[in-house]
Each structure stands twice: as C-alpha cells, then as structure tokens.
C-alpha cells in the first residue's frame, strides 16, 4: 500500500472532525504535527518515523530498575519520565527493607502503566496476570516508533517470530522486547529484530523476515552436512573430465581447419 510522507505543517484534511494523532487543528483545517507517514482511515493520523515513548494508561511496557527508594522502585522506561512502582503494586507484601531482594537495580520487569497524571507522574503495576520480573532471556531495545512493525498486521510478525524461533517473546510499547529461548535461537531472533528495524518501511516485511529466519536455518543445515557435500563435489570432478575432453577435441578440430 502506498503511503505519503508528510512533514510538520502540511495540510492533510479540511475537515477538523478527521483530526487523529500526530495532527493539530488550525482554522478548521487539519495539519500534520510530526514528520511521518500519512494514514487515512476513519480519521487522519500521522505515524511518526521517530520520537520518544510517551506513556499512556494501560500500556504494557518493559522497565529497568534505576533506583529503589523506601516505598518505590524507580524504573527507566525509555521515556522522558521515570516510572514508579509502589510496594503495594507488587503482587506480594514486601517489607521496605527487603525490596531490593525482590527487584534490584538493573533488573527488568514486564509492567503495566496504572496511571499517568497531568504532571506525567507515572504509576506502574505488577499486580496483574502475566506481569512479572524478567528472570531469564534478553531485553533488546529498538525505536518505540517501530513497535507496530515488530507486532505486525494483527500480530502476524510476532506470531511468526514465535513460531519460527520457538522463543518466548514480549513486545513492550516503550521500545523494548523481551525474548527467551535457546542461545542460538535468541541470536537469530536478535538479528531478525535488527533487520525489522532497519527495513521497517519496505513492503512485505513479514515474508522477508520469514525468509531470513528459514534461510539461516538452511545455512546451519548445510554446515552440519559438510561431508556429504564433499562427496557430491567428488562425483562432479569425475564427470567434468569428459566434458573437457570433448571441448578440447572440438577446439583442436577447429584449429586444424
């Protein structure tokens, strides 16, 4: 599908009812406010190429602890603001002196944004099914604007990645992804994610990544069967001389003429 690039200040609609995100309204007209790709659906949106993650309520994110205070864990959530996880939002009763035994500085966790107030105080929670401290695997970072590309159309990309690499995957809305599986598979997945971020604006990305993952498997297969390949080469060697003989004969014939 073709998408038009728009720049800040570009007129994108003359009906102010159409204003979606990445836009602003002036004198009844809708203008783009960010540099990105125009997306016309029931509303007119601009999907930005880049930008910082701004937390909003109910987002699933992956945070890393930067500090433990007397009643809060402070998380770096790749946003201009720090996230706060209060002890009461931890699934179990924790004494304030033992907080760092459960989650310590440097640990990562899958969290949900409980509330964001006017002054951008961000309250996080772990009190929900599926939320947990990350204990194994890897956390990778990528530009938050690429989150939709990694999830794919209706989750197609993520489910494909899960199926092909047999890794557990969780995509945080703040541009962090948690993966867990065998070391080899995680290496492969890391490369695949890098490729998604790099080639995020091309057509048929999911298929391309699928090819990338399956082809890499082929490379591994070939390497493990090097000996059989050698045999094939030897067979070819035996056949080649006949061809050469014929060619040499033909050359000799022509030179005699």
């Amino acid at each position: 599908m073709d998408r038009k690039i728009v720049i800040p200040g570009e007129l994108i609609s003359e009906n102010e009812q159409n204003a979606g995100y990445g836009t602003y309204v002036k004198d009844g007209n809708v203008y783009a406010s960010v540099y990105g790709v125009l997306n016309v659906k029931n509303k007119v949106d601009v999907i930005p190429f880049s930008g910082k993650y701004v937390p909003s309520k109910k987002d699933y994110i992956i945070g890393t602890v930067t500090d433990v205070t007397s009643s809060n864990w402070l998380f770096d959530i790749r946003s201009p603001y720090t996230g706060m996880l209060h002890v009461s939002e931890f699934p179990k009763r924790v004494e304030s002196s033992k907080m760092s035994e459960y989650i310590d500085v440097g640990d990562s966790a899958i969290l949900r944004v409980k509330d964001v107030d006017q002054s951008m105080k961000i309250e996080l929670t772990l009190r929900e099914r599926g939320l947990k401290r990350v204990k194994q695997g890897r956390v990778l970072e990528f530009p938050p604007s690429k989150v939709p590309r990694i999830i794919g159309h209706g989750g197609s990309m993520v489910s494909m990645l899960k199926k092909e690499t047999k890794c557990e995957i969780f995509v945080g809305q703040n541009g962090r992804i948690w993966i867990s599986g065998s070391e080899e598979k995680m290496d492969q997945l890391t490369d695949a994610i890098r490729l998604i971020v790099k080639e995020s604006h091309i057509h048929g990305l999911t298929d391309k990544i699928y090819d990338f993952l399956t082809n890499e498997k082929n490379v591994i297969d070939i390497e493990t069967y090097v000996s059989s390949q050698d045999e094939i080469e030897f067979q070819e060697d035996d056949e080649i001389p006949e061809d050469i003989h014929r060619k040499v004969d033909a050359l000799l014939d022509s030179s005699e003429d």
Binding site: G9, Y24, I47, G51, Y81, G154, H201
Partner: protein
C-alpha cells in the same frame, strides 16, 4: 581586513559570487547523520557548514528550570574554533550566547512543547565552517533535526537574511557583503510567513525594511521547498512510501499484546497463581533441570539457590 571590494554589484547586476540580487546560495542537506542523536541534520549553504543535533525530550536538570506544562527548548549555537580564518576562542562568547537565545525563541512558537511537560529538548548547532549567515543556516538545520527527532511542531522554520550593499538590497549575504555592507537583516519565518526571529544590524529605511521582508518571504519559501524535499527524500527518491499493513496495527497493537499475555499465561499459570512463593519453588525446579543439562551453569544456579534459602530463613 582592508580588502573591501570597490563594487559589490557589477554592471550586469550580478554580485561578487555571480548571483543575482534575489538569489540564495546553493544548499545541500543531509538528514539523520548522527546515530546517537534523536534527530540530526548536516547542512551546507554556500561555504557554510553546519551540524545540528537534537536530543530529547528528556528529563530536565536542574529541576527548578522545569516548566510544569511545557518542554523547555535549550538551544546552543557554537562556532568551532577552526570555522573562520582567524581562530575563535572556544566556548560561549557574548555573540554566541545571544544567538542561542534568539534562536531558541525562534522555535518556541512552533514546537508543540505542551505535550512534554517538565522536559527539555536540547538543540545543538555547531558551525564547522562559517561564511556569513551562520545563524540562519543553523536555524534551517535545527528545524530539520527537530523534525527528524519526531518532535511535534506546527510547521518548519526557514531562515534567511537580507542586506544592503552599494545602496541596494540583496538576499542571503556572503562574507564580503556581510563584512562591508551597510545592513544585515536575518529573519526566520514559518511557511505562512509568520516571523519568529528578526534582528537588524546597520540601517534600513522603513521602505527598505518592507521591501526586504518581501524578498525574505520569497527566499524563505525557496529554502522551505529545499527543506521539504530533503525530508521527503530521506528514505529514497519517492515521496510516497511503499509500506504494507501499517493500518490497524496501532489500534490492534494493544489487543495483540493482551493476547500475547494470555498465551504466556497458558505456559506458566502456576507461576502467577500464588505469586512469588510458588514462583521461586518452580524456579528452583527449573534450575535443577538446567544443571543436569548444562554443567557450565552449575555454579550460578547453586549460588542463586543458596540466596533463596537465605531469604526463606529470614
């Protein structure tokens, strides 16, 4: 410095560098040149070479400078010591501090700072080579770097200068015209012609000022077109991207993640059921299996086992 030319405009009406009176110098733009910056731009305008970088929005320290309902724009204009013939003393000078201030104010009306309260948007513009009109060149570069950083703005800012040489108004001064001319009027404006920066050095009559502003409008529109083209062609020659399945994603993104969570819950329901106590027991069980599989991990898992025992005792 006494090499003042006798004539700034020759008999054919051409300037020292062969331009017409209302012609700007050639401009070359590259966007996204710095990998560690959130947005960046390298701009060459005649003999000017400018590098602009944008970081943020990010947390502002010291906290007393934070604005509770907006982001602060911190703009730094700096000339490299090697940017001109005579070495300039490195560090902020009276001149560069002033330019930084007015340039920040040139962006304040257009950047939608209200979306990022208590933060700072850092803009750094470095003049690597100077040849008159560096503040306008820096503003043009910073404008693109801000767009590249994904910062919401009402529109781009374009800047240009008009000066007076030999009693005639000329657009976009070069070095000789700047040094020996009678007036210099740098102006920054939006695409609608709203002026966000205006400074003047020298003398202009009210009529000349009016005429200058008309010339500047034309010059800035020209620059705006160049900026626009640079942004459109960042990902290739075509201003239309061939992108698939972007739509629906944002709406379904959240739902998808929810689905994902439900999936993972299926795999380790017990982990979440009774919270941490069960969780740790299971972890131990998992680690025992790992030890059998992978002797290298033995040390690590033993350590963590001991740790968990300690915490149980306490």
């Amino acid at each position: 410095m006494s090499d003042k030319p006798d004539k700034f405009i020759d008999d054919d009406g051409l300037r020292l560098d062969g331009r017409r009176f209302d012609e700007i110098r050639p401009m070359k733009i590259e966007i996204g040149v710095l990998s560690r910056a959130d947005g960046s731009c390298y701009l060459e305008w005649g003999k000017n070479k400018i590098l602009a970088a944008v970081y943020g929005p990010r947390t502002l320290h010291p906290r007393r400078k934070q604005i509770p309902d907006a982001a602060l724009i911190r703009y730094r204009y700096n000339m490299a010591s090697f940017s001109v013939e005579e070495r300039v003393r490195p560090g902020p000078s009276r001149r560069s501090v002033e330019i930084s201030k007015v340039s920040a104010e040139a962006f304040e009306p257009v950047v939608l700072t209200k979306y990022y309260p208590n933060t700072v948007i850092d803009v750094f513009t470095e003049v690597l080579q100077a040849d008159a009109g560096t503040r306008t060149a820096a503003i043009n570069a910073a404008s693109l770097a801000l767009a590249d950083a994904g910062i919401p703005m009402q529109c781009l800012v374009s800047a240009c200068a008009v000066g007076k040489v030999d009693g005639k108004l000329v657009l976009d001064l070069n070095k000789e015209e700047d040094n020996f001319g009678d007036a210099d009027l740098p102006v920054a404006m939006t695409q609608d012609g709203e002026v966000t920066l205006l400074q003047m050095d020298g003398n202009l009559t009210p009529d000349e000022l009016k005429e200058s502003l008309e010339m500047l409008k034309k010059g800035c529109t020209e620059i705006f077109e160049i900026q626009k083209k640079a942004l459109y062609t960042k990902f290739g020659k075509d201003p239309v991207l061939d992108v698939d399945d972007i739509d629906d994603e944002d709406d379904e993104g959240l739902a998808q993640i929810q689905v994902e969570l439900d999936d993972s819950e299926g795999e380790d329901v017990e982990l979440d059921e009774d919270y941490l106590d069960v969780d740790e027991e299971l972890e131990e069980a998992v680690e025992v299996i790992e030890v059998e599989e992978d002797p290298d991990k033995k040390g690590i898992s033993n350590l963590s086992d001991e740790k968990e025992d300690d915490s149980d005792e306490q």
